[in-house]
């Protein structure tokens, strides 16, 4: 039920913040979603969509953090292995 998936906003229609709609592309499948709850979202940005509503914008720099963390962990492990 709480399944919500990230998609990219392709177009936005409507001016009124409460009825603003977007066409959102989920890996090739395009669906209409209400942008009422993400008034700041723009074309080209990613939003998390649930039951026809975008609930939050995906923060690109935060999205990379887990990978940065894993890289660091790996480098540390390599260092330790390399130590005499």
């Amino acid at each position: 039920m709480c399944l919500a998936i990230p998609g990219k906003i392709e177009t936005i229609s409507g001016e009124d913040p409460l009825t603003r709609m977007g066409r959102v592309n989920f890996g090739g499948v395009v669906k209409e979603a209400s942008l009422a709850y993400v008034p700041e979202a723009q074309v080209g940005e990613y939003v998390i969509v649930h039951a026809g509503f975008a609930l939050s914008k995906v923060d690109e720099s935060e999205a990379q953090k887990v990978f940065g963390y894993l890289r660091q962990m790996q480098e540390l492990a390599d260092l330790e292995e390399g130590a005499p």
């Binding site: 039920m1 709480c2 399944l3 919500a4 998936i5 990230p6 990219k8 913040p17 409460l18 009825t19 989920f26 890996g27 209400s34 009422a36 709850y37 993400v38 008034p39 990613y46 998390i48 649930h50 039951a51 026809g52 509503f53 609930l55 939050s56 995906v58 923060d59 690109e60 935060e62 999205a63 953090k65 887990v66 990978f67 963390y69 894993l70 962990m73 790996q74």
Partner: protein
């Protein structure tokens, strides 16, 4: 797909799992609250990557599963009326009430329709002014903003033939109920990421302080869940109990303010009976006075009645993390997704359905105690 596939990377998942192994020195019991996470854990075999000392308990986070039998019976009663177009999400249609389910009502001529968004139900009401359109709103805080907007937009359009039967429930009161039950084994929680995308996670600070349980807001992909578990273990192993956020790409501490503001206008907090868990104070959403004319229960004058759960089904224990699905004698025998005895076997987020789908062979179902 961007923001999905990269979080399913096998070698990176292994790397996180190795780190969890390295840090774990003692047995720990962690509950994932959300049924979507349960599904991902069982599907991707995340529990099998963990050290045997870590037990994952599956929580009550399946809104379809916790919708009370009484409410489903009311839905069945409304759906059978000839003037009604009855709408809900797909999962809800197959959940057994005390005698039948919505799909059977449909087979007998009831106008029952599956919708993707509550707004679709509002559209139906506009297109069918001579009919009464009822939306059975079920879900946690993640789904409530969609339902709130449907009611709000029905009001904006002056619709008099749109009604909401609400089964919306709230997560923090359920966590409180679990923690205050005497025999709770839960030592830490993975909090549901999308619930927090809407509500933020301020509410969890007092809970964490009171019960001294780590709580990590966690996403839904394998790397998210493993990182959430790692963060929980780091806290447990160092004796900390804090609120942390793993799912920072989608969740801000304050949540989604426009959504919260509409929620407050359309809904008020009410007590609600959870299937398998009983009445939990302040754990549901009902319509405010301003929108009371859209209340299906009021419109159709439904009487409250009490019904007993079938004795064979132990879904209540499954929902509270006290039993695993395969410990139910009916699991995979009398009870299958085709002939479900309980809601946890129906919903794609129900633990019984997840185990049936991914863990059928008895060998695979043996879990570390």
């Amino acid at each position: 797909m961007k923001y999905l596939d990269e979080y399913r990377d096998g070698p990176l998942a292994q790397q996180l799992a190795r780190e969890i192994h390295r840090l774990t020195t003692r047995p720990w019991t962690i509950m994932e609250v959300c049924g979507g996470q349960t599904h991902a854990i069982v599907k991707f075999g995340i529990d099998e990557l963990l050290p045997p000392a870590i037990t994952l308990l599956h929580g009550p986070g399946c809104p379809v599963c916790v919708t009370s039998l009484e409410l489903i019976d009311q839905a069945l009663e409304i759906a059978a009326r000839p003037e009604v177009i009855f709408t809900s999400f797909g999962d809800m249609l197959r959940v057994p009430g005390s005698t039948t389910d919505l799909l059977s009502v449909k087979a007998r001529g009831g106008d029952v329709r599956m919708v993707y968004s509550p707004l679709d139900a509002v559209k139906l009401a506009q297109q069918n002014p001579q009919r009464e359109v009822v939306f059975f709103g079920v879900g946690f805080e993640t789904t409530a903003p969609a339902t709130a907007m449907a009611v709000y937009s029905a009001a904006q359009h002056g619709l008099r033939n749109f009604f909401l039967l609400t089964s919306h429930v709230l997560v923090p009161p359920a966590i409180t109920a679990l923690m205050t039950s005497a025999d709770s084994r839960v030592q830490a929680f993975l909090a549901a990421g999308h619930v927090c995308a809407v509500m933020g996670y301020e509410e969890y600070y007092p809970l964490v302080r009171q019960h001294q349980v780590p709580m990590v807001v966690t996403g839904f992909e394998p790397l998210d869940i493993l990182q959430g578990i790692l963060m929980v273990i780091q806290q447990l192993e160092t004796g900390r109990a804090e609120v942390e956020n793993q799912y920072t790409r989608a969740v801000r501490r304050e949540g989604n303010l426009p959504a919260q503001s509409l929620l407050r206008r359309v809904f008020r907090v009410v007590s609600r009976k959870w299937r398998g868990m009983g009445e939990i104070p302040q754990s549901g959403l009902g319509l405010t006075e301003e929108f009371a004319s859209f209340d299906a229960a009021r419109k159709f004058g439904l009487a409250d009645h009490q019904v007993e759960e079938p004795a064979t089904c132990i879904a209540g224990l499954v929902l509270q993390g006290r039993k695993k699905p395969h410990e139910c004698p009916a699991f995979g025998k009398e009870c299958t997704p085709e002939h479900p005895l309980g809601a946890t076997m129906v919903s794609s987020e129900g633990a019984c359905a997840a185990y049936f789908r991914y863990r059928r062979s008895p060998l695979e179902t043996t879990m570390p105690a």
